[in-house]
């Protein structure tokens, strides 16, 4: 079990019992990372706020959705945030496509993010490990991974945008995740 996981488990146990203080502590611990990833994906503060709001609200309403046997709480929650962010940008893309067809609207411009924050120690250490592992991937591998994760694109769309076969996207993605997994398991 990684540093910080035990504390998360205790906070989650209290959350299941309806403890609002535990909710606040989890919020302070993970909202900067959650907001950071939501903002990175959506590019808009209002959408990022909605994503984080929905994710924390879902956590409050159904804390039993987290199963400690399946992995760390942090991974569960950050996956929840990421899924909601991807759903949001895909939905926004559909809306924007319709609006652009109708009125040639300009794409929504990105907004400036809020101030940077100081991480919880265990999160900060893991962040360094993840970034080092990402930096260790080849440029091609990192590119397909980032397009899928940070831009919410499907492998078919990545292949189209990069002008490479779908099979190549799959191979690069698989290799990238295997390498990342190996690096991060060692670090953990």
């Amino acid at each position: 079990m990684r540093e910080g996981d035990q504390e998360d488990l205790e906070l989650h146990r209290r959350l299941v019992a309806g403890d609002r203080d535990a909710f606040d502590r989890l919020y302070h611990r993970y909202s900067p990372t959650a907001y950071g990833i939501a903002f990175r994906l959506t590019g808009q503060q209002i959408l990022a706020q909605d994503v984080v709001h929905e994710a924390f609200l879902a956590l409050w309403r159904a804390p039993e959705a987290f199963d400690a046997a399946r992995g760390a709480f942090r991974n569960f929650f950050l996956s929840l945030v990421h899924h909601r962010a991807v759903d949001t940008i895909r939905r926004e893309e559909r809306i924007r496509a319709r609006q652009e067809r109708a009125s040639n609207l300009e794409p929504v411009a990105s907004e400036d993010p809020a101030d940077e924050v100081v991480d919880d120690d265990s999160v900060a250490r893991r962040r360094l490990e993840v970034r080092a592992a990402l930096a260790d991937l080849s440029g091609d591998q990192r590119q397909v991974l980032e397009m899928a994760y940070f831009e919410g694109k499907t492998q078919v769309r990545i292949a189209e945008e990069l002008g490479i076969p779908l099979g190549t996207v799959k191979t690069r993605t698989f290799a990238a995740l295997r390498k990342l997994r190996a690096a991060l398991e060692v670090e953990a």
């Binding site: 959705a65 987290f66 569960f76 759903d87 993605t173 997994r181």
Partner: protein, 239 residues
Amino acid sequence: MDPADHETVEELMSGYALRALSGDDAVEAERLLSEHVPGCLRCRRTLLAFSDTVADLALAADPVAPPETLLPRLHRSLEPRRARRPIGRWVGIAAGIAFVLVAGGVAVSQGLRAGDLQERNELFAQALRLSQRPDADTAPLTEADATEPAPVSTVSAPDVDHFFLVGSEVPPPPSGSIYGVWLSDGVDAVFAGSFLPMPGVTVVRVPFDRSRFDRVLVTVEISGDVAEEPGQIVWEAVA
């Protein structure tokens, strides 16, 4: 299974963990997740490991302080926890995301599918299967004049000709009225049916043509009236 076949499955699982599959790959992943992965220790471990690794990618983004208004907004949305008895879970395998459903309620509809316990369970099963697809989209409706999420969500997928409205502890509409479901393209709205929730879970299946509509409205309608235009909109979502 041949080791090379496992590699093929694992390659697909890497795309699944990233939610990057679509079309035939998404369908094949869904098949493997129901037929092969549950009984294959190697592929199950790989999927869990990939899901963990993908979750870690969130840490590669710069942390950003959310606006100070966000926590108070959340506090306003935190209803007191009710005692509840879970009867099932919708498990999103990659993230372990689940919605805990609550016993005791049956959705009643007029025109839309719902009804007795057996039918409700079948609707649960259908909604569950849809929610487990890699390309499934689960989105809460929002209150019409606010940004707060409604107690109802849509569960849909791109190539499916219907979606589900799923809610827990959906409040009843005012006396003498029912909830109406309307599909809209932003200009016109077409009545799709109506329903009355009961305490517990509400699941409603709504036929949906994506080429014609891009939003769903839940309205309050006078019971027994034939509505020609949407009544008061209480919740809405863009599909």
